[in-house]
Symmetry: C2
Protein backbone atom coordinates (compact mmCIF):
# COMPACT_ATOMS: atom_id res chain seq x y z
CA UNK A 1 0.00 0.00 0.00
CA UNK A 2 1.20 3.45 -0.95
CA UNK A 3 0.99 6.36 1.48
CA UNK A 4 -0.58 9.34 -0.29
CA UNK A 5 -0.65 11.93 2.49
CA UNK A 6 -0.37 12.43 6.23
CA UNK A 7 -1.96 15.15 8.35
CA UNK A 8 -1.23 15.44 12.03
CA UNK A 9 -4.59 15.70 13.78
CA UNK A 10 -5.07 15.87 17.56
CA UNK A 11 -1.49 14.62 17.85
CA UNK A 12 -2.39 11.48 15.94
CA UNK A 13 -2.16 11.00 12.19
CA UNK A 14 -4.75 11.07 9.43
CA UNK A 15 -3.30 9.09 6.55
CA UNK A 16 -4.59 8.34 3.07
CA UNK A 17 -3.38 5.26 1.21
CA UNK A 18 -3.76 3.69 -2.23
CA UNK A 19 -3.56 -0.05 -2.89
CA UNK A 20 -4.55 -2.63 -5.46
CA UNK A 21 -7.49 -4.66 -4.25
CA UNK A 22 -7.52 -8.32 -5.30
CA UNK A 23 -11.18 -8.57 -4.28
CA UNK A 24 -12.36 -5.60 -6.31
CA UNK A 25 -9.79 -5.96 -9.11
CA UNK A 26 -9.02 -2.25 -9.11
CA UNK A 27 -6.99 0.44 -7.39
CA UNK A 28 -8.62 1.76 -4.23
CA UNK A 29 -7.97 4.57 -1.80
CA UNK A 30 -8.82 4.61 1.89
CA UNK A 31 -8.12 6.67 5.00
CA UNK A 32 -6.92 5.79 8.48
CA UNK A 33 -6.83 7.86 11.63
CA UNK A 34 -4.23 6.63 14.10
CA UNK A 35 -4.47 8.02 17.65
CA UNK A 36 -1.35 9.49 19.31
CA UNK A 37 -0.37 6.24 21.05
CA UNK A 38 -0.21 4.47 17.67
CA UNK A 39 2.21 6.90 16.00
CA UNK A 40 5.77 7.99 16.61
CA UNK A 41 8.89 5.97 17.30
CA UNK A 42 7.24 3.42 19.62
CA UNK A 43 3.71 2.88 18.30
CA UNK A 44 1.30 0.76 20.31
CA UNK A 45 -1.23 -1.46 18.61
CA UNK A 46 -4.78 -0.15 18.99
CA UNK A 47 -8.26 -1.43 18.14
CA UNK A 48 -10.11 0.08 15.20
CA UNK A 49 -13.52 1.46 14.45
CA UNK A 50 -14.47 0.67 10.86
CA UNK A 51 -16.63 3.41 9.38
CA UNK A 52 -18.73 2.73 6.29
CA UNK A 53 -19.91 5.86 4.50
CA UNK A 54 -23.10 6.59 2.62
CA UNK A 55 -24.09 7.21 -0.99
CA UNK A 56 -21.76 9.51 -3.00
CA UNK A 57 -19.10 9.54 -0.28
CA UNK A 58 -15.45 8.57 -0.47
CA UNK A 59 -13.03 7.92 2.38
CA UNK A 60 -12.82 11.68 2.89
CA UNK A 61 -16.27 12.75 4.11
CA UNK A 62 -16.22 11.20 7.54
CA UNK A 63 -12.60 12.09 8.21
CA UNK A 64 -13.13 15.74 7.29
CA UNK A 65 -16.63 16.37 8.60
CA UNK A 66 -17.49 14.10 11.52
CA UNK A 67 -15.23 15.69 14.13
CA UNK A 68 -14.32 12.21 15.36
CA UNK A 69 -10.55 12.54 15.73
CA UNK A 70 -10.58 14.28 19.10
CA UNK A 71 -12.46 11.54 20.92
CA UNK A 72 -10.64 8.76 19.04
CA UNK A 73 -7.35 10.33 20.09
CA UNK A 74 -8.46 10.41 23.73
CA UNK A 75 -9.75 6.84 23.69
CA UNK A 76 -6.83 5.37 21.75
CA UNK A 77 -8.95 4.01 18.91
CA UNK A 78 -8.03 3.99 15.22
CA UNK A 79 -10.67 4.85 12.61
CA UNK A 80 -10.67 3.28 9.17
CA UNK A 81 -12.71 4.71 6.29
CA UNK A 82 -12.89 2.60 3.11
CA UNK A 83 -14.31 4.05 -0.08
CA UNK A 84 -17.95 3.29 -0.95
CA UNK A 85 -17.50 1.39 -4.24
CA UNK A 86 -14.89 0.14 -6.67
CA UNK A 87 -13.34 2.97 -8.66
CA UNK A 88 -12.10 3.39 -12.18
CA UNK A 89 -13.42 0.08 -13.46
CA UNK A 90 -15.32 1.77 -16.29
CA UNK A 91 -18.45 -0.33 -16.32
CA UNK A 92 -21.23 0.95 -18.57
CA UNK A 93 -23.68 3.15 -16.66
CA UNK A 94 -21.52 3.14 -13.54
CA UNK A 95 -21.62 6.91 -13.16
CA UNK A 96 -25.19 7.50 -14.32
CA UNK A 97 -26.87 7.84 -10.93
CA UNK A 98 -25.93 8.75 -7.37
CA UNK A 99 -27.59 5.67 -5.89
CA UNK A 100 -26.13 2.87 -8.01
CA UNK A 101 -22.63 2.11 -9.29
CA UNK A 102 -19.80 4.49 -8.35
CA UNK A 103 -20.13 5.68 -4.78
CA UNK A 104 -22.97 3.24 -4.18
CA UNK A 105 -21.56 -0.26 -3.71
CA UNK A 106 -24.07 -1.06 -0.92
CA UNK A 107 -21.57 -3.38 0.79
CA UNK A 108 -22.82 -6.47 -1.03
CA UNK A 109 -21.08 -9.02 -3.25
CA UNK A 110 -22.63 -8.56 -6.68
CA UNK A 111 -23.62 -11.66 -8.61
CA UNK A 112 -25.01 -9.95 -11.73
CA UNK A 113 -23.02 -8.91 -14.78
CA UNK A 114 -21.28 -6.60 -15.42
CA UNK A 115 -20.95 -5.79 -11.69
CA UNK A 116 -19.95 -9.18 -10.31
CA UNK A 117 -16.18 -9.16 -10.82
CA UNK A 118 -15.66 -5.77 -9.17
CA UNK A 119 -18.59 -4.82 -6.95
CA UNK A 120 -17.72 -7.02 -3.99
CA UNK A 121 -17.59 -4.39 -1.26
CA UNK A 122 -18.74 -6.82 1.43
CA UNK A 123 -15.73 -9.07 1.02
CA UNK A 124 -13.52 -6.01 0.68
CA UNK A 125 -14.51 -4.32 3.95
CA UNK A 126 -14.99 -7.52 5.98
CA UNK A 127 -12.04 -9.56 4.76
CA UNK A 128 -9.41 -8.05 2.47
CA UNK A 129 -8.94 -4.63 3.98
CA UNK A 130 -8.89 -5.71 7.66
CA UNK A 131 -6.35 -8.43 6.87
CA UNK A 132 -4.15 -5.94 5.04
CA UNK A 133 -4.33 -3.19 7.62
CA UNK A 134 -3.96 -5.42 10.67
CA UNK A 135 -0.74 -6.64 9.06
CA UNK A 136 0.62 -3.32 7.90
CA UNK A 137 -0.47 -0.85 10.59
CA UNK A 138 -0.26 -0.80 14.41
CA UNK A 139 -3.69 -2.35 14.85
CA UNK A 140 -4.90 -5.17 17.05
CA UNK A 141 -7.49 -7.60 15.72
CA UNK A 142 -10.20 -5.95 17.83
CA UNK A 143 -12.74 -4.17 15.64
CA UNK A 144 -15.97 -2.31 15.90
CA UNK A 145 -18.08 -1.12 13.01
CA UNK A 146 -20.39 1.81 12.30
CA UNK A 147 -21.63 3.81 9.36
CA UNK A 148 -24.15 6.25 7.95
CA UNK A 149 -27.17 5.63 5.72
CA UNK A 150 -26.04 3.07 3.09
CA UNK A 151 -23.00 2.63 5.35
CA UNK A 152 -25.22 2.11 8.39
CA UNK A 153 -26.85 -0.72 6.47
CA UNK A 154 -23.35 -1.96 5.68
CA UNK A 155 -22.26 -1.89 9.31
CA UNK A 156 -25.34 -3.78 10.45
CA UNK A 157 -25.07 -6.57 7.89
CA UNK A 158 -21.32 -6.97 8.43
CA UNK A 159 -21.87 -7.39 12.17
CA UNK A 160 -24.93 -9.64 11.86
CA UNK A 161 -23.17 -11.95 9.39
CA UNK A 162 -20.04 -12.36 11.48
CA UNK A 163 -20.61 -13.30 15.12
CA UNK A 164 -17.50 -12.62 17.16
CA UNK A 165 -15.83 -10.53 14.49
CA UNK A 166 -16.87 -7.11 15.82
CA UNK A 167 -16.87 -6.06 19.47
CA UNK A 168 -19.73 -3.65 18.81
CA UNK A 169 -21.86 -2.13 16.08
CA UNK A 170 -23.72 1.14 15.66
CA UNK A 171 -25.29 3.15 12.88
CA UNK A 172 -26.48 6.61 11.98
CA UNK A 173 -29.70 6.75 9.98
CA UNK A 174 -29.13 3.30 8.44
CA UNK A 175 -31.03 1.91 5.46
CA UNK A 176 -32.53 -0.53 7.93
CA UNK A 177 -34.73 -2.63 5.65
CA UNK A 178 -33.31 -2.26 2.13
CA UNK A 179 -35.44 -4.93 0.47
CA UNK A 180 -38.44 -2.67 1.12
CA UNK A 181 -37.15 0.77 0.05
CA UNK A 182 -36.32 2.31 -3.35
CA UNK A 183 -32.56 2.66 -2.75
CA UNK A 184 -32.22 -0.94 -1.64
CA UNK A 185 -34.48 -2.39 -4.31
CA UNK A 186 -32.62 -0.58 -7.08
CA UNK A 187 -29.25 -1.67 -5.75
CA UNK A 188 -30.20 -5.28 -5.01
CA UNK A 189 -31.93 -5.75 -8.36
CA UNK A 190 -28.87 -4.38 -10.12
CA UNK A 191 -26.20 -6.18 -8.15
CA UNK A 192 -28.06 -9.38 -7.18
CA UNK A 193 -30.70 -9.88 -9.88
CA UNK A 194 -34.44 -10.36 -9.89
CA UNK A 195 -34.66 -13.26 -7.43
CA UNK A 196 -35.64 -11.40 -4.29
CA UNK A 197 -34.87 -14.43 -2.12
CA UNK A 198 -31.20 -13.65 -2.76
CA UNK A 199 -31.67 -10.15 -1.39
CA UNK A 200 -32.61 -11.31 2.07
CA UNK A 201 -29.12 -12.02 3.33
CA UNK A 202 -28.23 -8.35 2.76
CA UNK A 203 -31.08 -6.85 4.79
CA UNK A 204 -30.45 -6.15 8.49
CA UNK A 205 -34.12 -6.43 9.42
CA UNK A 206 -34.33 -9.87 7.79
CA UNK A 207 -31.07 -11.02 9.39
CA UNK A 208 -32.22 -10.34 12.95
CA UNK A 209 -34.30 -13.56 13.19
CA UNK A 210 -31.22 -15.59 12.24
CA UNK A 211 -28.72 -13.78 14.47
CA UNK A 212 -26.78 -16.14 16.73
CA UNK A 213 -25.05 -13.33 18.63
CA UNK A 214 -27.01 -10.74 20.65
CA UNK A 215 -24.73 -7.79 19.80
CA UNK A 216 -26.64 -4.66 20.93
CA UNK A 217 -27.50 -2.26 18.12
CA UNK A 218 -26.99 1.45 18.86
CA UNK A 219 -28.78 3.54 16.26
CA UNK A 220 -29.23 7.30 16.04
CA UNK A 221 -31.90 8.65 13.71
CA UNK A 222 -32.87 12.27 13.15
CA UNK A 223 -36.58 13.01 13.25
CA UNK A 224 -36.22 15.57 10.43
CA UNK A 225 -34.17 13.30 8.20
CA UNK A 226 -35.40 13.85 4.65
CA UNK A 227 -35.04 10.12 3.90
CA UNK A 228 -36.65 8.76 7.06
CA UNK A 229 -40.06 7.98 5.61
CA UNK A 230 -39.06 6.75 2.18
CA UNK A 231 -35.72 4.95 2.61
CA UNK A 232 -34.64 4.26 6.17
CA UNK A 233 -37.44 2.45 8.04
CA UNK A 234 -35.88 2.00 11.48
CA UNK A 235 -39.26 0.89 12.85
CA UNK A 236 -39.06 -2.35 10.87
CA UNK A 237 -35.69 -3.12 12.43
CA UNK A 238 -36.98 -2.31 15.92
CA UNK A 239 -39.98 -4.56 15.38
CA UNK A 240 -37.76 -7.45 14.24
CA UNK A 241 -35.53 -6.95 17.29
CA UNK A 242 -38.57 -6.92 19.56
CA UNK A 243 -39.92 -10.13 18.08
CA UNK A 244 -36.59 -11.91 18.36
CA UNK A 245 -35.38 -10.45 21.63
CA UNK A 246 -32.42 -8.72 20.03
CA UNK A 247 -31.10 -5.72 22.00
CA UNK A 248 -31.50 -2.40 20.18
CA UNK A 249 -31.27 1.21 21.30
CA UNK A 250 -32.87 3.40 18.64
CA UNK A 251 -32.49 7.04 19.64
CA UNK A 252 -34.79 9.36 17.71
CA UNK A 253 -32.93 12.69 17.74
CA UNK A 254 -35.37 15.57 17.60
CA UNK A 255 -34.83 18.05 14.78
CA UNK A 256 -31.77 16.41 13.25
CA UNK A 257 -31.48 15.71 9.52
CA UNK A 258 -29.38 13.32 7.39
CA UNK A 259 -26.24 15.50 7.25
CA UNK A 260 -22.78 15.25 8.76
CA UNK A 261 -23.87 17.88 11.30
CA UNK A 262 -26.11 15.15 12.71
CA UNK A 263 -23.27 12.63 12.72
CA UNK A 264 -20.87 15.09 14.36
CA UNK A 265 -23.41 15.83 17.10
CA UNK A 266 -23.52 12.22 18.26
CA UNK A 267 -20.28 10.59 17.11
CA UNK A 268 -18.70 10.91 20.56
CA UNK A 269 -21.51 8.81 22.05
CA UNK A 270 -20.81 6.14 19.45
CA UNK A 271 -17.06 6.26 20.04
CA UNK A 272 -17.65 5.83 23.77
CA UNK A 273 -19.98 2.90 23.05
CA UNK A 274 -17.36 1.20 20.90
CA UNK A 275 -14.56 2.05 23.31
CA UNK A 276 -16.27 0.23 26.15
CA UNK A 277 -16.79 -2.85 23.97
CA UNK A 278 -13.19 -2.70 22.78
CA UNK A 279 -11.93 -2.53 26.36
CA UNK A 280 -10.47 0.96 25.94
CA UNK A 281 -12.58 2.64 28.62
CA UNK B 1 -31.88 38.06 3.98
CA UNK B 2 -33.18 34.76 2.71
CA UNK B 3 -32.77 31.53 4.71
CA UNK B 4 -31.38 28.83 2.42
CA UNK B 5 -31.06 25.90 4.82
CA UNK B 6 -31.00 24.92 8.48
CA UNK B 7 -29.24 21.96 10.08
CA UNK B 8 -29.63 21.19 13.73
CA UNK B 9 -26.11 20.72 15.12
CA UNK B 10 -25.29 20.06 18.77
CA UNK B 11 -28.82 21.24 19.58
CA UNK B 12 -28.08 24.63 18.01
CA UNK B 13 -28.64 25.58 14.38
CA UNK B 14 -26.33 25.88 11.41
CA UNK B 15 -28.03 28.21 8.95
CA UNK B 16 -27.08 29.41 5.49
CA UNK B 17 -28.43 32.71 4.18
CA UNK B 18 -28.38 34.73 0.97
CA UNK B 19 -28.60 38.53 0.82
CA UNK B 20 -27.84 41.42 -1.49
CA UNK B 21 -24.78 43.29 -0.28
CA UNK B 22 -24.85 47.04 -0.84
CA UNK B 23 -21.11 47.19 -0.14
CA UNK B 24 -20.13 44.53 -2.64
CA UNK B 25 -22.94 45.23 -5.12
CA UNK B 26 -23.74 41.56 -5.53
CA UNK B 27 -25.62 38.65 -3.99
CA UNK B 28 -23.71 36.93 -1.22
CA UNK B 29 -24.14 33.82 0.88
CA UNK B 30 -22.95 33.31 4.43
CA UNK B 31 -23.37 30.84 7.29
CA UNK B 32 -24.23 31.26 10.96
CA UNK B 33 -24.04 28.79 13.81
CA UNK B 34 -26.39 29.67 16.66
CA UNK B 35 -25.84 27.83 19.95
CA UNK B 36 -28.80 26.13 21.70
CA UNK B 37 -29.60 29.12 23.92
CA UNK B 38 -30.06 31.32 20.84
CA UNK B 39 -32.61 29.11 19.09
CA UNK B 40 -36.12 27.93 19.90
CA UNK B 41 -39.16 29.79 21.11
CA UNK B 42 -37.30 32.06 23.56
CA UNK B 43 -33.89 32.78 22.02
CA UNK B 44 -31.29 34.64 24.06
CA UNK B 45 -28.91 37.08 22.41
CA UNK B 46 -25.37 35.75 22.31
CA UNK B 47 -21.97 37.16 21.35
CA UNK B 48 -20.39 36.06 18.05
CA UNK B 49 -17.09 34.81 16.80
CA UNK B 50 -16.48 36.06 13.27
CA UNK B 51 -14.47 33.56 11.26
CA UNK B 52 -12.66 34.64 8.10
CA UNK B 53 -11.66 31.79 5.83
CA UNK B 54 -8.67 31.34 3.58
CA UNK B 55 -8.03 31.21 -0.17
CA UNK B 56 -10.53 29.18 -2.24
CA UNK B 57 -12.93 28.77 0.69
CA UNK B 58 -16.60 29.72 0.97
CA UNK B 59 -18.72 29.98 4.10
CA UNK B 60 -18.91 26.17 4.12
CA UNK B 61 -15.38 25.00 4.85
CA UNK B 62 -15.09 26.08 8.46
CA UNK B 63 -18.64 25.08 9.35
CA UNK B 64 -18.22 21.59 7.91
CA UNK B 65 -14.61 20.81 8.78
CA UNK B 66 -13.48 22.68 11.89
CA UNK B 67 -15.48 20.74 14.47
CA UNK B 68 -16.28 24.04 16.23
CA UNK B 69 -19.98 23.64 16.90
CA UNK B 70 -19.66 21.46 19.99
CA UNK B 71 -17.59 23.96 21.98
CA UNK B 72 -19.55 26.96 20.65
CA UNK B 73 -22.75 25.24 21.80
CA UNK B 74 -21.30 24.69 25.27
CA UNK B 75 -20.02 28.25 25.58
CA UNK B 76 -23.10 29.93 24.11
CA UNK B 77 -21.23 31.67 21.30
CA UNK B 78 -22.48 32.16 17.75
CA UNK B 79 -20.11 31.67 14.81
CA UNK B 80 -20.43 33.66 11.62
CA UNK B 81 -18.67 32.65 8.41
CA UNK B 82 -18.77 35.16 5.54
CA UNK B 83 -17.67 34.15 2.06
CA UNK B 84 -14.11 35.06 0.96
CA UNK B 85 -14.86 37.37 -1.99
CA UNK B 86 -17.68 38.91 -3.97
CA UNK B 87 -19.42 36.34 -6.17
CA UNK B 88 -20.98 36.39 -9.59
CA UNK B 89 -19.77 39.87 -10.55
CA UNK B 90 -18.19 38.59 -13.75
CA UNK B 91 -15.01 40.68 -13.78
CA UNK B 92 -12.46 39.73 -16.42
CA UNK B 93 -9.86 37.32 -15.04
CA UNK B 94 -11.73 36.89 -11.76
CA UNK B 95 -11.61 33.09 -11.90
CA UNK B 96 -8.17 32.69 -13.46
CA UNK B 97 -6.17 31.91 -10.32
CA UNK B 98 -6.79 30.53 -6.84
CA UNK B 99 -4.99 33.40 -5.11
CA UNK B 100 -6.62 36.45 -6.71
CA UNK B 101 -10.22 37.35 -7.55
CA UNK B 102 -12.96 34.86 -6.68
CA UNK B 103 -12.30 33.20 -3.34
CA UNK B 104 -9.40 35.57 -2.68
CA UNK B 105 -10.74 38.96 -1.62
CA UNK B 106 -7.99 39.39 1.01
CA UNK B 107 -10.31 41.45 3.24
CA UNK B 108 -9.20 44.78 1.71
CA UNK B 109 -11.13 47.59 0.02
CA UNK B 110 -9.91 47.57 -3.58
CA UNK B 111 -9.08 50.92 -5.18
CA UNK B 112 -8.01 49.64 -8.60
CA UNK B 113 -10.29 49.01 -11.53
CA UNK B 114 -12.07 46.80 -12.33
CA UNK B 115 -12.07 45.48 -8.73
CA UNK B 116 -12.91 48.68 -6.81
CA UNK B 117 -16.72 48.68 -6.97
CA UNK B 118 -17.10 45.09 -5.75
CA UNK B 119 -13.99 43.88 -3.95
CA UNK B 120 -14.57 45.67 -0.65
CA UNK B 121 -14.47 42.69 1.70
CA UNK B 122 -13.04 44.75 4.57
CA UNK B 123 -16.08 47.01 4.73
CA UNK B 124 -18.33 44.02 4.21
CA UNK B 125 -17.03 41.93 7.12
CA UNK B 126 -16.36 44.82 9.51
CA UNK B 127 -19.41 46.99 8.84
CA UNK B 128 -22.23 45.79 6.61
CA UNK B 129 -22.58 42.18 7.70
CA UNK B 130 -22.29 42.78 11.48
CA UNK B 131 -24.87 45.55 11.29
CA UNK B 132 -27.24 43.31 9.35
CA UNK B 133 -26.83 40.25 11.54
CA UNK B 134 -26.92 42.05 14.87
CA UNK B 135 -30.28 43.45 13.74
CA UNK B 136 -31.75 40.30 12.28
CA UNK B 137 -30.43 37.52 14.52
CA UNK B 138 -30.29 36.95 18.30
CA UNK B 139 -26.80 38.45 18.62
CA UNK B 140 -25.39 40.97 21.05
CA UNK B 141 -22.91 43.59 19.82
CA UNK B 142 -20.04 41.69 21.42
CA UNK B 143 -17.74 40.24 18.80
CA UNK B 144 -14.49 38.38 18.51
CA UNK B 145 -12.66 37.58 15.31
CA UNK B 146 -10.45 34.79 14.01
CA UNK B 147 -9.47 33.21 10.74
CA UNK B 148 -7.12 30.99 8.78
CA UNK B 149 -4.34 31.90 6.39
CA UNK B 150 -5.69 34.78 4.24
CA UNK B 151 -8.49 34.92 6.81
CA UNK B 152 -6.00 35.05 9.67
CA UNK B 153 -4.53 38.11 8.01
CA UNK B 154 -8.08 39.44 7.70
CA UNK B 155 -8.85 38.86 11.37
CA UNK B 156 -5.65 40.61 12.47
CA UNK B 157 -6.16 43.72 10.32
CA UNK B 158 -9.84 44.00 11.26
CA UNK B 159 -8.94 43.93 14.96
CA UNK B 160 -5.91 46.22 14.66
CA UNK B 161 -7.87 48.84 12.71
CA UNK B 162 -10.81 48.94 15.09
CA UNK B 163 -9.90 49.38 18.76
CA UNK B 164 -12.79 48.43 20.98
CA UNK B 165 -14.74 46.70 18.21
CA UNK B 166 -13.58 43.14 18.99
CA UNK B 167 -13.25 41.64 22.45
CA UNK B 168 -10.47 39.34 21.23
CA UNK B 169 -8.61 38.20 18.14
CA UNK B 170 -6.81 35.04 17.12
CA UNK B 171 -5.51 33.42 13.95
CA UNK B 172 -4.43 30.09 12.51
CA UNK B 173 -1.42 30.26 10.21
CA UNK B 174 -2.11 33.87 9.19
CA UNK B 175 -0.48 35.64 6.27
CA UNK B 176 1.24 37.76 8.88
CA UNK B 177 3.24 40.15 6.70
CA UNK B 178 1.51 40.22 3.32
CA UNK B 179 3.49 43.10 1.81
CA UNK B 180 6.52 40.80 1.88
CA UNK B 181 5.11 37.54 0.50
CA UNK B 182 3.97 36.44 -2.97
CA UNK B 183 0.28 35.99 -2.09
CA UNK B 184 0.07 39.43 -0.48
CA UNK B 185 2.06 41.22 -3.14
CA UNK B 186 -0.05 39.78 -5.94
CA UNK B 187 -3.28 40.67 -4.16
CA UNK B 188 -2.25 44.15 -3.05
CA UNK B 189 -0.83 45.08 -6.45
CA UNK B 190 -4.04 43.94 -8.10
CA UNK B 191 -6.53 45.43 -5.66
CA UNK B 192 -4.56 48.49 -4.46
CA UNK B 193 -2.17 49.36 -7.29
CA UNK B 194 1.56 49.89 -7.58
CA UNK B 195 2.01 52.44 -4.78
CA UNK B 196 3.28 50.19 -2.02
CA UNK B 197 2.72 52.91 0.59
CA UNK B 198 -0.99 52.18 0.20
CA UNK B 199 -0.41 48.53 1.02
CA UNK B 200 0.85 49.22 4.53
CA UNK B 201 -2.51 49.73 6.15
CA UNK B 202 -3.49 46.17 5.20
CA UNK B 203 -0.45 44.43 6.74
CA UNK B 204 -0.74 43.25 10.37
CA UNK B 205 2.99 43.42 10.98
CA UNK B 206 3.07 47.04 9.81
CA UNK B 207 -0.02 47.95 11.83
CA UNK B 208 1.44 46.82 15.15
CA UNK B 209 3.56 50.00 15.63
CA UNK B 210 0.42 52.14 15.24
CA UNK B 211 -1.87 50.01 17.43
CA UNK B 212 -3.60 52.04 20.15
CA UNK B 213 -5.15 48.98 21.82
CA UNK B 214 -3.04 46.18 23.28
CA UNK B 215 -5.38 43.36 22.26
CA UNK B 216 -3.42 40.13 22.80
CA UNK B 217 -2.82 38.10 19.62
CA UNK B 218 -3.27 34.34 19.93
CA UNK B 219 -1.74 32.61 16.93
CA UNK B 220 -1.32 28.91 16.17
CA UNK B 221 1.10 27.90 13.44
CA UNK B 222 2.01 24.39 12.32
CA UNK B 223 5.70 23.66 11.97
CA UNK B 224 5.08 21.49 8.88
CA UNK B 225 2.83 24.02 7.16
CA UNK B 226 3.72 23.95 3.48
CA UNK B 227 3.32 27.75 3.27
CA UNK B 228 5.21 28.68 6.42
CA UNK B 229 8.47 29.68 4.78
CA UNK B 230 7.18 31.35 1.66
CA UNK B 231 3.91 33.04 2.61
CA UNK B 232 3.16 33.25 6.32
CA UNK B 233 6.13 34.82 8.14
CA UNK B 234 4.89 34.81 11.75
CA UNK B 235 8.39 35.76 12.92
CA UNK B 236 8.03 39.24 11.41
CA UNK B 237 4.83 39.76 13.37
CA UNK B 238 6.42 38.50 16.59
CA UNK B 239 9.38 40.83 16.07
CA UNK B 240 7.08 43.84 15.54
CA UNK B 241 5.13 42.90 18.68
CA UNK B 242 8.36 42.61 20.63
CA UNK B 243 9.59 46.00 19.51
CA UNK B 244 6.30 47.70 20.29
CA UNK B 245 5.39 45.83 23.45
CA UNK B 246 2.27 44.28 21.90
CA UNK B 247 1.16 41.04 23.58
CA UNK B 248 1.36 38.00 21.31
CA UNK B 249 1.22 34.27 21.97
CA UNK B 250 2.56 32.46 18.90
CA UNK B 251 2.26 28.73 19.45
CA UNK B 252 4.34 26.68 17.02
CA UNK B 253 2.48 23.37 16.79
CA UNK B 254 4.88 20.56 16.04
CA UNK B 255 4.08 18.47 12.98
CA UNK B 256 0.89 20.26 11.96
CA UNK B 257 0.26 21.44 8.41
CA UNK B 258 -2.03 24.08 6.82
CA UNK B 259 -5.16 21.91 6.70
CA UNK B 260 -8.45 21.95 8.54
CA UNK B 261 -7.16 19.00 10.59
CA UNK B 262 -4.79 21.54 12.13
CA UNK B 263 -7.60 24.03 12.74
CA UNK B 264 -9.85 21.36 14.26
CA UNK B 265 -7.07 20.28 16.62
CA UNK B 266 -6.84 23.71 18.24
CA UNK B 267 -10.16 25.45 17.62
CA UNK B 268 -11.40 24.68 21.14
CA UNK B 269 -8.46 26.59 22.61
CA UNK B 270 -9.38 29.58 20.46
CA UNK B 271 -13.06 29.35 21.38
CA UNK B 272 -12.13 29.29 25.05
CA UNK B 273 -9.86 32.31 24.52
CA UNK B 274 -12.67 34.25 22.87
CA UNK B 275 -15.23 33.06 25.39
CA UNK B 276 -13.26 34.53 28.27
CA UNK B 277 -12.92 37.86 26.47
CA UNK B 278 -16.62 37.85 25.61
CA UNK B 279 -17.54 37.21 29.23
CA UNK B 280 -19.06 33.79 28.50
CA UNK B 281 -16.72 31.79 30.74
Amino acid sequence: MELLSTNVSFDGEHRRYRHTSATLECTMEFAVYLPPVAVGPDPQRVPALWWLSGLTCTDKNFMEKAGAHKKAAELGIAIICPDTSPRGVNLPGEDDSYDFGSGAGFYVNATEQPWAPHYRMYDYVVKELPQLLENELPLTDKRSISGHSMGGHGALICALHNPGRYASVSAFAPVAHPTECPWGQKAFKGYLGDDTAKWEEWDATLLIPKATERLPLLIDQGTEDQFLETQLNPDALVEACKQHDHPINLRMQKGYDHSYFFIASFIDDHLNHHSRALGQS
